[in-house]
Subunit: 779 residues, 2 copies
């Protein structure tokens, strides 16, 4: 049990760490050499080009403009300069909606904190129960401000119940408003989008095999018959996984060729050579350029054959197709209705964006999907509750004695008391650390096995699993202080009314732990997020060691998307902590508020300057966010019920039982009120947009655009595939007559050479890469 | 604990009762006077007319053809003569599917019983555990054949586990096959139906109020815009409840007028008279015919005004409409898609058949629906678990002393020891009996409040509630032997693993109770069902006392529909008993099998000869039947798990835990495989049927038929409303060019005057009533 003083010390340490990170960030980001680490988004939108080739060689790497050092914290106000509509234009609705979650946290917990401080803290502080007990228990100062300080059977508990009602109603009100706003933002966003392939296309799975007919013919025949006036064309799905592997191999060879050619250009006298053996270390010496050109030529022949094979071999054609319609209305109808008499054939759903498609899972038949779902849900359950078993096993192996057996020559060093104690403290935790580091990857693999067909869905599914893991192992695990297996065991053998009591009673005691958690994980963690230490190091390592061509630099820079599968569940854990402690120990709320505010700044900066979303799901994750906040409310209500029943405030039970029922009803209402906006596409909207388009931008030949949009990128051209793998929107899905949107970059860089005003004009997105592509074309 | 002997005695009593009922039935049914009680269906289809007006007066009432008495049990083979397709033609798919449930029971439990007898009974009997214990416990003979007889920790339990696996797989296999058959029967049935209004019509609810526009204009405008090529016409829904009440009053007056006119016809010299005062008992004497004619005239004027008012007053127009389309495709699309941006407006769903519509609930707005659902689910929960509280309260009032206080003059009689003991045994149960008798009505009212818009849905919803009540209060209540509140209390305070143990351990002990239950409720009850004692008495009472006109006789005869809300849940209780006892006490299975077989005969007879379905939902209840049998399987698995854990067969737990998981997976698979056939209408089917119709029976003016089909029957004509209230299909929904289906009645009546062969030809359905109507037209 920590005293207020302990918490103060911890706070100071974390604040200092956070400030150190921020300072480092502020200094590092204005160095031109780090520009690609801290502003990659602008490189990808084309608003910035490489700052190399300045006159002063040093100025290429270090910022010599010392004025900019004086304003090194100006990134914070700068991030606020870009308004929400601009953020949506610049980074997409997903990012904008993600930022709204933090604001929602502030909106929910801000007023709650004020009321709780005004009402509950005085009530709790005047309880004085702990004053009498303090000789027996080690009581923290924080506990004197929490519900623990109120005497059993005290009528004061009605203040807490009242606060819980107030908090629930306020939270529900804010949730409702936010859901409303996000739903209409989504509809607006979809409505404002110019014609895109996914608006006219439906993904059809489980196309039945008709003997004597190709998949393509079957699809054509079926849709010509059942959607006669709306069907336009379709694109069958090819199994191009093998081909894609060969293409990736070719890319590597091409890269090496480029590198050698560059070498030759710089030193025209010495032609680069390589040896034929393993890793080019021994064997016959050859001219590198000729060698790679030869290799590429051979591979190209193979690729051409493979390409032909894919398009012709019926076995390579999967039983799925992207069917396009001549109007949004037709597509909306097809996506929402049942097609076939056998409901597990001809399953239709909206096609994801072309860049969002996870091609590998398109051909899984229906029965396999059911089995996969079952297996994966069992696996997740096992992972959450029993992950500790293999880790304990590994830990039992990876101890000092084991290490000494494996590497006996290190024994003298291991015997040193300092090293020994360090290792003894470090080794047992290592397996766990490695596991936690691997966890998101494991969960993502599970989601892939589950059979989702879009990256966006994969990420949402992974996020759900990760949240479940965190809820059980971080939240409940910290409160009940036991492994998940022990919890599972006790949950199975306790009565349903006993469980909330067991957990509820230890909640107030864990407040200090969670305050520390918020400061370490939230405050310092967020400062670490903006510093981007890992990408920074990785970029410079790659830049120095591996980058041979412009393409490599692009790859080294690749900023990736916001890590939704990790970020959203972590964030939701704060909502859970806030909801649970709002009434029990309100002193926790300011810490959470600071986290929300700070994280909002950080992610706003990152969204504007760093991340490049791989796909755009138009805030499709919002229902999940909403559901989990509702779940947090329910958990907090049950735990308060359990806590109060241990406080012998039994006559309050009926009052508190009403609350979960109301919350569930609210949830159901929200579900039917808003969720269709995220799952379906109203016909009203479709018709409106169709008529609008007809008037404003008539298209003569939509068919040719639509038919090509959903070809596997690797089958289109090798360059397209490269763009796809880098997550760059190649705009294939876009059906022309688009209006170029003007983006105003919010640049925070101090290096004068690319100030915001100069870069007002947006170059075509693919500029950087096209340079690369052109180079290839010349070779 | 009953011995085998006790059970034998009970069986004999029940078999004798059942046979007595059957004998009575066999004798009563061949009396011409009872013809309308036992063969009303044939009167309604028009295959039989009144047998009155024979030469021999006695022969009109009593069957004098003594040959027919010799073959009095021939109804049983006769019921089997009609094949399933004919039953579907004759009584509809609902009835045919209902009969299939009994066959499904035979299919599931028949082979199970054989295997269980061959495997488990020897295993159990050789256990010999109870032999040692028999001095301490009162052991029944049946227990020696049950799982109780196996010693703890015995490896013999693996035989039971194996049987459970076998049973589950067999049951699932049969369920799958049956679901498949019923689903395709449904699709076939719908496909074979000639054009009917409900195939082209969608019910739209929550039409938003557009200021300055009528509901009708709003609907027209919306659908013209969003379903431009498919929208045909629509019918707004009027609030005609007040008008319907007035019409009912007019019917009563008309009836009295008819009666008096008949009287006059028979005795042309004395004109009937009545007094003006209360109930016609005192006051001025008037000519009855003139009086009623005057009254009807007055009422008719009022009705005309009210009729005008309904059609014009915008307040009488509800925010709902029946929208019709020019093709099945158009209707299927509209029913399955989201229309509006605001998903709680413009809610579309398939329109129920016109005769199935529950008009009163059409105008409930969405938010009210959510609240109603919440309130009703809470109410059902309270009813199921706390119904005993008010009943105990009433019981405490309705005791002998209370009775003596209220009716002191009866005291001498009440003091008689015989009467006293009878009443003391009778009174406390009376409140409960009355409650149980009222229960289906209460549950139906709850369903109505919940806001369903079709009688079929109301009945399904009521059945679900009734099943829940039976499960908790009959099944669990009998096993755990306590009130539902006590159970709820112990469930809340026991661990989730303890509950199946508590219940499981007492299952074998209750086998004899359930055997008796099956014999009383199942065997004797079924015999009572075929005897139709209540309708028999009611018909003759009404016929003697109240029937004045032909219309009254029709009303007195009204056979109603099969009582799905009671029949299906009761039936499912047998599935539950069978599943639970199949492995534990297999000796119960033959009793259930006899019930299924006997009930099949009885209901087959009733479906053919008695019941007249009010609506046709095309077996829409099947998913519910399927779900609840799956739930029975799950319950039986959990209880066996609990039972075995008390038997210390702990190493069997993992084996048994797998089973519920597999069952749930099977359930999910079935749900996605078959349920859409019951909820949606595949476009493939719609297109097929549309093209078929175009070729085979083109219709020139579908609009005029469709527009009228969904007018409230009372607004169409008073006669139509009468038919509607009697549940006679007035075929309004039918769009012409129909082919009259030929029905061959399976007559079991001995009276020679209307043998099946003579009545082969089907007269128009409304024959009986049209006579009445013509009479009215003349007056």
């Amino acid at each position: 049990m920590a005293t207020l003083g302990d918490i103060g010390v911890s706070a100071v340490i974390n604040i200092v760490t956070a400030f150190a990170f921020l300072l480092a960030f502020a200094l590092l980001r204005i160095q031109p050499i780090n520009d690609r680490v801290y502003f990659p988004k602008w490189y990808l939108t084309g608003a910035r080009a490489s700052p190399r080739h300045s006159a002063n060689l040093v100025a290429n790497f270090v910022n010599l403009n010392f004025n900019t050092y004086l304003t090194f914290l100006n990134w914070m106000p700068q991030t606020l300069r870009m308004k929400e509509p601009q953020i949506i234009d610049h980074a997409g609705l997903d990012s904008a909606a993600f930022l709204r979650i933090y604001i929602l946290g502030l909106k929910i917990f801000g007023p709650t904190a004020i009321v709780a401080f005004l009402v509950l803290i005085p009530v709790n502080a005047s309880g004085g129960m702990l004053f009498f007990l303090s000789r027996d228990l080690v009581i923290s100062d924080i506990d004197k401000l929490s519900i623990s300080n109120v005497q059993p059977k005290s009528p004061k508990f009605f203040a807490h119940i009242f606060m819980m009602y107030l908090f629930t109603f306020w939270a529900c009100y804010m949730l409702y408003k936010e859901y409303d706003v996000v739903a209409s933002m989504r509809l607006n966003f979809l409505a404002l989008k110019s014609r895109r392939a996914e608006q006219f296309t439906v993904l059809v799975r489980n196309v039945p095999h008709v003997p004597g007919n190709s998949v393509s013919d079957t699809v054509k025949c079926f849709f010509k018959k059942n959607h006669s006036t709306h069907y336009l064309c379709h694109q069958t799905v090819y199994n191009a996984n093998k081909y894609a592997r060969a293409v990736r191999k070719r890319q590597k060879l091409q890269n090496k060729l480029d590198y050698n050619q560059l070498k030759l250009e710089r030193h025209p006298n010495t032609r680069p050579t390589r040896k034929t053996g393993l890793l080019g270390l021994w064997g016959e010496k050859l001219d590198s350029i000729e060698y790679y050109q030869q290799k590429i030529k051979e591979l190209d022949e193979k690729l051409t054959m493979e390409h032909q094979k894919i398009l012709k071999d019926p076995k390579r054609i999967m039983s799925a197709a992207f069917v396009s319609f001549n109007s949004r209305w037709g597509a909306a109808v097809c996506a929402q209705t049942q097609q076939s008499k056998n409901p597990i054939l001809w399953l239709t759903d909206w096609a994801p964006e072309p860049r969002d498609v996870y091609w590998k899972n398109l051909a899984i038949p229906f029965i396999s999907l059911s089995i996969r779902k079952l297996v994966i849900s069992l696996a997740v359950f096992a992972l959450v509750f029993f992950y500790i078993i293999p880790i304990t096993f590994v830990q039992s192996l990876a101890n000092l004695e084991g290490l000494e057996r494996v590497v006996p020559f290190l024994r003298p060093i291991l015997e040193w008391s300092f090293i020994k104690s360090f290792l003894q403290g470090f080794l047992p935790g290592l397996a766990l650390k490695v596991f936690l580091w691997l966890l998101p990857g494991i969960l993502m693999t599970m989601s892939k096995i589950e059979g989702h067909v879009a990256f966006s869905v994969l990420e949402r599914s992974t996020a759900a699993k990760y949240y479940f893991f965190m809820l059980v192992n971080v939240f409940l695990g910290s409160i009940v202080a036991g492994t998940a297996i022990q919890q599972l065991h006790s949950f199975l053998h306790q009565s349903p009314t006993q469980i909330p009591r067991t957990i509820g009673v230890s909640i107030p005691m864990k407040a200090t732990f969670f305050i520390t958690y918020i400061m370490v994980d939230g405050w310092a963690g967020m400062a670490g997020e903006i510093l981007r230490l890992k990408p920074l190091i990785m970029f410079h390592l790659k830049n120095t060691l591996m980058v041979k061509t412009e393409r490599d630099r692009l790859k080294a820079m690749n900023p990736k998307s916001i890590d939704f599968p990790e970020a959203i569940p972590s964030l939701q854990l704060y909502f859970l902590m806030g909801a649970v402690y709002a009434v029990v120990t309100p002193i926790l709320l300011p810490f959470i508020l600071i986290f929300f505010a700070f994280a909002y700044f950080v992610y706003r900066h990152q969204v504007i300057n760093v991340y490049n979303q791989r796909y755009e799901s138009a805030a499709a994750f919002w229902p999940h966010v909403h559901h989990r906040i509702i779940a947090s409310l329910l958990i907090s209500q049950l735990l308060l019920l359990g806590l109060l029943s241990t406080k012998k405030a039994a006559n309050s039970t009926p009052l508190l039982v009403v609350l979960p029922i109301l919350t569930v009803t609210f949830h159901k209402f929200c579900k039917s009120r808003f969720e269709p906006a995220f799952r379906k596409y109203p016909l009203e909207e479709a018709v409106e947009k169709d008529t609008q388009d007809e008037v404003s931008e008539p298209v003569n030949d939509m068919k040719s655009y639509l038919c090509e949009a959903y070809l596997h990128p690797v089958l289109r051209s090798i360059e397209e595939f490269e763009l796809f793998e880098l997550g760059v929107d190649n705009n294939r899905a876009h059906i022309p007559s688009q209006v170029a949107t003007e983006l105003e970059p919010v640049s925070g860089s101090g290096s004068g050479s690319h100030s915001p005003k100069e870069e007002n004009k947006v170059a075509p997105k693919r500029q950087d890469l096209e340079v690369v592509v052109e180079q290839h074309d010349k070779t």
